[in-house]
Amino acid sequence: MADGPFIFYTEHRLIGLTGIAARNLPELLKGLETVPGASIFYHTHQEYLAHHFQKPLFYNDFALWVSQAIHEDELAEKLAAVDLLLFTAIKDLRERIVGIVRRHMGEDHWVPRDCPPGDEFHFCRSKSFPVPTNIVAHDIPEFFEKLPQVTTVSLFYHFFEARLRLGRPTNDFSRWIADQGEPELARSIDQLDPYIRTLEELRDDIVALGRGFTK
């Protein structure tokens, strides 16, 4: 991609099931330790892509379940506070989440508690099928001109999938823009935290950063 034009991708997703469910924290922990990495990715990212009628309490499924099904609010807050931007490998993210749950279960006042029947946590996983769109940019001005047409699914792919699932060191936009000779602009995009914005807000903020670079 470095030497050529930037091709915006979109993606389709098939949700995979593991058949693994948790009724309480020990079972959640066991699941966290054993489910495929694709499941950890799914439960820490799917809410960013989901359509919301109201802003969710937490964007992290583990935090949401811990809060709503077993009412462990302190743990929920700790899980939700995990800074996903610090991780470029799911393995490390998993270790971090497992560590937080383990420490919580080791606290003196902790008592195990089952969720009501029907509220179990079901570990899912995502299988993504990225596809190129016909939106292509040959230079930086064209990139920013085309960006407003790009869907949130496309942003999800270039920011989240690229870093955590495809092992790229940064998001695809920053990589390509740096290769085009604008490392400063690339860095400022890289510094936008996609996890504290909606994908629409992320797109608007990138468009704003590119204002001085349009034709």
Binding site: L14, A21, H122, C124, K127, P132
Partner: protein, 409 residues
């Protein structure tokens, strides 16, 4: 005139239809053979009737076969069906033998020449015995909840279904631990079918009038079989609580499944409970009543689906699609169709159902907002076009079982 993909464009948008076409180009001419146990009646046949023509239009070579069996076989599979969903059923050795014999007979008759064979539900699941005779990849498409089966039934079925290349379930809650990859594909509704298409105000009024329902007064409706698990008596009790505070009428509409001996008994109980109240309309309708059901829901103020146990409960999406707020039992697939407080209310009791109905009856704006949310929720998640997409992705997933990210260059 048959329904084509183009007819869905005004509903789901050009982009969605284009995406289906692009994706389908990657699995074009693939030969897919669906196998189930009945050509008409029941949710699976209804889904295949809609999906098969659309997949064919997209260039896939789709066949649909139905297994044969005598009454003894279907008695066995009915018992399996119940036992797999956790009901107490006696599963005897001779029942298992009947299943094996019928499976062997069908294996001699059904062609397995295909690229992918999609076997629906437990009845034909044993056909996997024929896997060595074909190059096809095998998918078990399970539409029922097998998460808490009776052990004997599961012990018998598991060796069959664990030999498939993939399994597909309607809800994460319905799945089992199996060695093959498992995927999620919730069922869907067809917005262009007789049961869901837009109707004119005159069409709706005509049906309400036919059944003596006053369209000027609020109407609470539940559409479901007369089955205890749908709790029609609970709905009447909730209606009575509502009626103490607000004027309303109640419609209980639906058919009885011919294979359900309890249906008639429940209908009698419902009629006895409703006796003497001219505002309760008990309407046992024949299976061909899609238009009437459509009009009754569209003519309603609020829709109930107060099930005590439920498979997916697609009647909820059918009502949400018509912009009706739905009050439903917090069970099965109802939990993912009703976003509590957003597209309707999830309830756990008769009192809860009545309380929410009163709340909705007194708040026109809330009804409108929830109705609009419900319509959008269904449009995004439960329309047949999404189901077609799942099928296409499933075909691609069969080619790449071990990859989490499959880049389609």
């Amino acid at each position: 005139m048959p329904t084509t993909l183009q007819h869905y464009e005004p509903i789901v948008g050009r982009e969605t239809i284009d995406e289906l076409r692009v994706l389908a180009s990657r699995v074009r001419r693939r030969r897919i053979r669906n196998i189930n146990s009945t050509p008409v009646g029941g949710g699976v046949a209804e889904i295949l009737t809609r999906l098969v023509p659309l997949l064919r239009e997209l260039g896939l070579d789709v066949a649909w076969d139905v297994i044969k069996g005598d009454q003894a076989f279907f008695n066995v599979t009915k018992a399996f069906h119940n036992a797999l969903q956790g009901s107490p059923e006696e599963i005897t050795g001779s029942m298992l033998e009947t299943y094996r014999e019928t499976t062997a007979m069908n294996l001699r008759e059904i062609s397995l020449d295909a690229d992918a064979i999609v076997v629906h539900d437990p009845q034909p699941a044993g056909l996997i015995e024929g896997r060595t005779t074909t190059q096809a990849r095998w998918v078990w498409r399970c539409h029922i909840d097998v998460s808490r089966p009776q052990p004997r039934a599961w012990e018998f079925l598991e060796p069959y279904v664990s030999r498939y290349d993939a399994a597909v379930f309607s809800m994460p809650d319905f799945a089992q631990r199996l060695p093959e990859p498992q995927y999620l594909a919730p069922p869907s509704i067809d917005p262009l079918s007789e049961k869901n298409r837009e109707l004119t105000a005159a069409e709706v009024a005509r049906v309400l009038e036919k059944y003596g329902i006053n369209s000027a007064r609020p109407v609470l409706t539940q559409v479901s079989r007369f089955d205890r698990l749908k709790d029609p008596l609970g709905v009447i009790a909730a209606y009575r609580l509502v009626k103490r505070r607000a004027d309303c009428q109640l419609v209980l509409a639906g058919g009885g499944a011919s294979d359900d001996p309890e249906g008639g008994e429940v209908l009698e109980e419902v009629r006895a409970q409703a006796a003497g109240d001219p505002d309760i309309h008990v309407l046992p309708l024949p299976p061909s009543s899609d238009f009437e059901i459509n009009a009754l829901v569209r003519g309603s103020t609020i829709v109930f689906q107060k099930s005590i146990r439920e498979g997916f409960g697609l009647t909820v999406s059918e009502a949400l699609w018509k912009r009706k707020p739905v009050i439903g039992g917090a069970v099965g697939g109802i939990k993912i169709q009703i976003i509590n407080g957003v597209t309707g209310f999830l309830v756990h009791s008769i009192e809860g159902a009545a309380h929410r109905a009163l709340e909705l009856l007194s708040d026109h704006e809330l009804r409108t907002t929830m109705g609009e949310n419900g319509y959008r929720h269904v449009k995004q998640n439960f329309l047949v076009t999404r189901h077609v997409m799942d099928y296409l992705l499933l075909m691609l997933a069969l080619d790449h079982p071990d990859e989490d990210v499959v880049t389609l260059a």
